[in-house]
Amino acid sequence: MKRSKTFSNGLWIALAYLLALTGFAFAAGEEEAAWNGGLRQKFFGDRPIEEGNQIVELTAPYRAEDPALVPIQISSKIPQTKDRFIKTVTLIIDNNPVPFSGIFHFTPESGKADLAMRVRVNAYTHIRAIAETNDGKLYMNKAFVKASGGCSAPIGTDLEAAMARMGKMKFKLDNEKAVLRQPNLAQLLISHPNITGLQMDQLTRMIKPAHFVEEVKVSFNDKPVLTAQTDIAISADPNFRFYFVPETAGELKAEIRDNKGNRFSASQTVTP
């Protein structure tokens, strides 16, 4: 009895040592495994992707404080002009159960293709922002984030209250008076529980079905500023920061749709 225990302990230590060694050797490649093993192909096929921060730069905390609420920012390095602009930014979180987190469409009227939002991160992973410019070229910037359990993290403490408030939206503008013909920073707050479908009720063995914002359309005087298709990685109560360029006074409008077909809209008067 005693001998076999010692033996198995010894074996265990040897195994752990081996694992540590090989784990260390793999570590560098492992971070790219999901991307190279299919994600890249799935979303971009064989198209060349230039890596670096020359077009967009992604900022994320290296260690997440709350895996269900990780603030990230995407800053663009080129202005949005009629001739040259960022058309889309795709957000991929490699090791999330649903890596596709969102695609954001910009126009020259966006002024600046900057974005900020909060996401769920389920495992140590790269987060990637892949920008496509209007000439069809792809540029990628990535950041590594240490977090776990963001997608299965329990639903916020008061689901009843969250459901009652669902669909409320508000805009916040950086300045009370808009600056005409310049990019103005705006924030859109959406009240929605954004349930991931990965949060299980242990007693009833029921999974709360996924219920999340699938589409966000922001326009200014009916011209699109930001259009997004989003998925479960977006944190509860989605919050987007972006730019728009008002040529005159007018109305900033948001229309959203969730995966159950609920539609909500809100608007905000913008005066110079």
Binding site: P61, E65, D66, L69, P71, Q73, A116, R118, S148, G149, S152, A153, P154, I155, T157, D158, R165, K168, K172, L173, D174, L185, Q187, L189, S191, Q199, M200, D201, Q202, L203, T204, A236, D237, N239, R241
Partner: protein, 309 residues
């Protein structure tokens, strides 16, 4: 901090209850007649401490014992049960869970037997159900032990508002609170000794952790303050403390968060900005500040963004 007045009248009895082996001992202090508290440690739950970090204990009446929180592991629950049995022959009738957090409920299974009723906030069962899969994964990863569904013993008696538990010549008043530290906070008041067992509604030394509602917690503190108690028992901190002075550091911290975050939101500043800059003056006042402060800010920021709705 002043020594609690009652401590001068009462000898603190430190007990190291002997048990079958050295690993299952638990130290307890009698903070008021018939009220025993085990003092936790200010550490993050990990494989070394096995999540056994919270203050837990029990109250003895003439007919019944009520256990208040069962500890951070099944082993700690078993050690607490042995300790009760070595101190009194009065049977355990009730196990009160003050809220859903693992360091307070993972010993539940040790007490599950006929004749023992589990009592908790009316939202506790749902909170347990919703969190169990996540918590089980976390226990395996961080604490080094596995948990089964059975470990999460939901309450037999949900408390919606208040409940009086008769222990025999001693009545406990249990109150279910609005969302504060969590959405399942329950406090216990022992009228005989004017002791208010607050569990994690009161943090001392260990930075308060917001896993419910900052505004709700501050509103709860306002209500708690009116309670005529001599002694409070925090969920993390000393085994007992003067009332209501014990509340002050926690209230100051939460109010600082509230006012500074409100100002950030009003100025259109971001959550990231708030996480880097809010409330840093409190850093020297608390243990585990770096571990929980930023997360508190992000939780509170997300709440306060919607507070005018």
């Amino acid at each position: 901090m002043k020594v609690p007045a009652i401590a001068l009248l009462l000898p603190f009895i430190a007990l190291n209850v002997p048990a079958r082996d050295d690993t299952s001992k638990i130290s307890l202090q009698q903070v008021a007649p018939g009220i025993y508290v085990h003092q936790g440690i200010h550490e993050l739950p990990d494989r070394h401490n096995r999540g056994e970090i919270a203050n837990i204990g029990f109250i003895v009446g003439q007919r019944c014992v009520a256990v208040i929180d069962t500890g951070g592991s099944p082993d700690q629950g078993r050690a607490l049960k042995k300790a009760v049995e070595s101190i009194t022959t009065t049977p355990i009738c009730y196990v009160i869970n003050t809220h859903v957090h693992p360091d307070h409920i993972y010993g539940n299974i040790a007490f599950k037997q006929p004749g023992v009723s589990f009592i908790g906030h009316h939202k506790l069962a749902e909170a347990m159900a919703m969190r169990a899969p996540f918590y089980r994964e976390k226990a395996e990863r961080d604490l080094g032990f596995g948990l089964e569904t059975e470990n999460f013993v939901p309450p037999d008696h949900p408390v919606r508002d208040t409940l009086v538990l008769e222990l025999g010549a001693r009545a406990l008043v249990l109150k279910a609170h609005r969302t504060a530290h969590t959405d399942s906070d329950l406090s216990i008041y022992d009228a005989r000794t004017k002791t208010l067992w607050l569990a994690d509604l009161l943090f001392m030394g260990h930075l308060p952790v917001i896993d419910g509602s900052l505004n709700g917690w501050l509103a709860t503190i306002e209500e708690l303050r009116k309670i005529d108690a001599e002694l409070a028992i925090p969920g993390h901190g000393p085994v007992s403390a003067d009332w209501p002075e014990a509340l002050e550091p926690e209230e100051r911290y939460l109010k600082t968060l509230q006012s500074e975050i409100r100002a950030f939101i009003k100025d259109g500043r971001t959550m990231e900005d708030a996480m880097a800059n809010v409330g840093l003056s409190a850093r020297g006042d608390w243990q585990l500040f770096d571990e929980f402060h930023k997360r508190n800010i992000s939780t509170a920021f997300a709440e306060l963004e919607w507070e005018d709705e």
